[in-house]
């Protein structure tokens, strides 16, 4: 037997090596790259590598992708649908983008995907609530997509900054006539409250001040439990039925219920053993709306609701 043939590992070992490399890679890998990592007894010519991969492809174990930076085709373990989803989510995790931006930033990696495919994918992600549409910075901008629901603060920031500058100018002018700036600010806040139909009550608790559990009040609407059940079931289903729903979404779904009434209704459901809350553990810290929606109890910030099955 020729020496080289004796040293070559069987095809199954080569496939194993390629599978382990493909498994470990979040991206499809070019044939030339795959060939270059097959050393020693595993080494094969490019045609042999392609033949092995094509056999895997016909068995549905790998998928072929068009070349990216080089000329050789790429292969990956993930299907184009899964890969497209990963690419879109990764792009949107970096920053909010328009559909066109998404297509331009990641489309080169998945050349077989058409504009219509990307549009369909993003619409599907929106339907799954994995991605949220939001208006652009101006009225004429295209819709942007991100992994989080739009935060009104992002749109109000420049308006508030402008308002703040004007306020400082007026406070400066009034200061010359003996009016302290604190008085000017208090008056401005009061007028702002009136303008939006909500005046902050004196001593209103910040959502973070732990005043202990809310005192029992007969404030929860009579139909709170049934409405809560329906909202929970709907959101849970949309989020994959993991029995894990954020208070942010539940408060939004029952937006007409005042905070104190919502908290009381939630407490009643917990006391009845129907639902439970769990801590606001989140990757990368809590978003402001999460912090605001959470309930502080016994030293823990509680954000997620689960139905008690037991």
């Amino acid at each position: 037997m020729p020496k080289r043939a004796a040293q070559l590992a069987p095809d199954s070992a080569v496939l194993d090596a390629m599978r382990s490399v493909l498994d470990a890679s979040p991206e499809p890998i070019a044939v030339s790259k795959l060939k270059s990592i097959l050393k020693g007894p595993l080494r094969r010519g490019e045609a042999e590598v392609v033949a092995l991969l094509e056999a895997e492809r016909s068995a549905g174990r790998v998928f072929r992708y068009a070349p990216y930076s080089g000329k050789s085709p790429r292969y990956g373990r993930q299907s184009p649908e899964v890969y497209a989803r990963q690419l879109a989510l990764a792009a949107l995790a970096r920053k909010a983008q328009t559909l066109r931006d998404v297509e331009q930033s990641v489309g080169k990696r998945l050349k077989d995907y058409t504009a219509a495919d990307w549009k369909r994918l993003v619409e599907q992600l929106v339907a799954e609530k994995a991605v949220f549409p939001a208006p652009g910075p101006t009225a004429r901008s295209a819709v942007r997509y991100s992994l989080h629901p739009p935060d009104p603060r992002d749109y109000l920031r420049s308006v508030v900054a402008r308002w703040r500058r004007n306020l400082d100018q007026i406070a400066g002018r009034l200061a010359d006539f003996g009016i302290p700036s604190t008085e000017v600010t208090a008056a401005a806040l009061e007028m702002l409250g009136d303008a939006v139909g909500r005046r902050p009550a004196s001593g209103e608790a910040s959502p973070l001040a732990d005043s202990g559990p809310s005192p029992r009040q007969p404030g929860a609407p009579a139909d709170f439990a049934s409405r809560f059940d329906a909202a929970f079931a709907r959101i849970d289903r949309q989020r994959g039925s993991h029995n894990f729903v954020s208070l942010v979404e539940l408060r939004r779904a029952l937006a007409d219920v005042a905070r104190a009434d919502f908290d009381q209704g939630m407490r009643d459901l917990r006391m009845a053993g129907r639902y439970e809350l769990s801590g606001a553990e989140s990757l990368g810290g809590l978003r402001p709306e999460e912090r605001e929606a959470a309930i502080l109890e016994a030293g823990n910030l509680l954000l997620y609701v689960s139905r008690r099955d037991r």
Partner: protein
Amino acid sequence: MSTETSSRAPHEAHDLDAFFQAVVRTNPFLANAVTDPSGEEIDVETIHRSEFEELIGYAEQAHRQRGHLGQVVWGEPGIGKSHLLARLYRWAAQGDRAVCVVLHNLQPPPEYLPRYILKCVIQRLVRGQAEAFHGTPLYWLVTRAVREGLRQSRRDAPISAREARDAYRKVVNSLVSGHPGAGPDARTIYHVLFHFFLGAYRGQYLDGNETTADLAVRWLAGDELDHDEARELELRCGEDREHPVALPGTQAVESVLVALAELAWLGGQPFVLAFDQVDNLQDAQIASLAQFLHPLIDHARNLFVVVSGVQSRLLHFLEHGVILRAAWERIAQDERGIRVGRIRKEQARQLLDARLEKFVEPYVTVPGVKARLHEDGLFPLGQAWFEQRTGEAVDFRPRDVINWARDRWREIQRRIGQLGGPAWLAAWPDPCPEAPHAVVPPTEDELARRIDEQAARRLGQQLQRRQREPESLPADAANLAGLVETLLRQCLDPAWGYRLRQIERPAPVRAGRLRVYDLVLTSQADQEGTTLRTGVTFLVTPNRTSAAAALRRMVDDEPPPQRVVLVCDARRPLVLGPKGQEYLDLLQARGPERFQVIHLTFPQYAELDALQAVVGDARTGDLEVDLAGGHVRRISEAEAVASHHRNDRYRGNALLSLLLG
């Protein structure tokens, strides 16, 4: 001054003074996390009972239906997930109900993860080789198969080795034929398992020599064997003697686990693989774990896989495509998973009762203690304290309840120190200090001090766990390399004052065979900007061929880095033939400035693993400091790393100290 140990008062100490001393010297509420799933632990069975029964139900179902199941156990940090897995482990061990392996803090590079999982499983099944192979769980798994074969042949002992082999073969045929998931290497694997059995039997009853069993364990765990060693196990060797013999690939790794599950089925036991705190893995590691578990669950019979972690983090991995949907559907066959929830007030009380009972038990007949216990079952904590502490809250995290009791106990220790024991007892119950409700943020220094305390305590617990269970950290080059790289990356910021500036890891090559150095480090040698390059190779193998090949690659490397560090594990010392010794001599001739060998001891290895485990705990939100009024603040990953730096814990380890310069 009180010392915080968990040792109990001696049983013979029945007088009041001994009671006061015990209160001052011990605190039964110090441990708030599982440090050892197999260790002695106070367990309140009524807490999370239904979740536990659900777990057992799945395990039993996997066995009854000879099927495969995956389930996820999730909940917030400090809720009791690890306690639940520890309870599952103890249930399995009592009366040999199941073969259960609990794995945690896996640190190898992603491409090596399946092989490392296998190594951990095998090491658990031979109890870390701390005792003879005879009588280990792995021995009994094969023994039962032999017995089953004899039963089918209507034979009784005593029998010859040949008869035992024939009987075993018959059983193996029935296991392999008609099982498409067995894998192409199944018969070889069963064959090596029989060699293990025979070697262990001979070692115990004939000549005391366990060499063959040891070789079988090494091969089954994915290690490489020389041709001479492989021939002992009747394994096929290629023509190239330089090419060691090992499990051929990931599919073979999977097939070993499939075979173990089959053998467990013969013995009437489900095979349970539990992965605790998987959310402390890096994205690439968790992706690799999911990709490995997917076909394993598909192919194995009689297997129940449990994956545990913080729910929000696991869902994040799923939603961001780190865990692919298809793999998730195997790992969590019920999308709702097993949710470990908060406990009610009466259960919180039971949690405290269980620890108090154990503490006061030697003193229940001491008159002063007896009277107080009679009037208040929560003595010395006190029912009034409990009522005030729990307030109107609906439910609780077990960790919070334990921490509150720990703090109350410290207050009691302080009062006994102030008043003396008899006066404290006469005045008991002290009025409980009003718990402040508002969050009073600590100063930066105070916060850092508390983080340091908490990180040091957790580090101690993690070390303790590894010392109790050395088999949880088998000698393994890839895991060690991954661990060291992860820790060194935490030291790259020049602000921490180390000289290390860059870490390179050569592209992964299968099984790392062709890599000269696992890591190449660039450090700043002086103020003028001169750099020092260090090549680090981790070599943990008793295999002469592999060792010689690795050393030859280092000798042949031209030009070599200015410094080369060879890291070995003292538990698996290098075994060198003449060629290997020649290469080592050549390297050592470069002088100690340019070539160094480090024989890492187990405590040093455990220290590295524990350092990273603390950072992993922080990443999953499982490391917390208590603020005023019982408020809890999570310690972030960056804060845990900063605490390690502040306390010079990296340089405290001999290997890291050398590499950091």
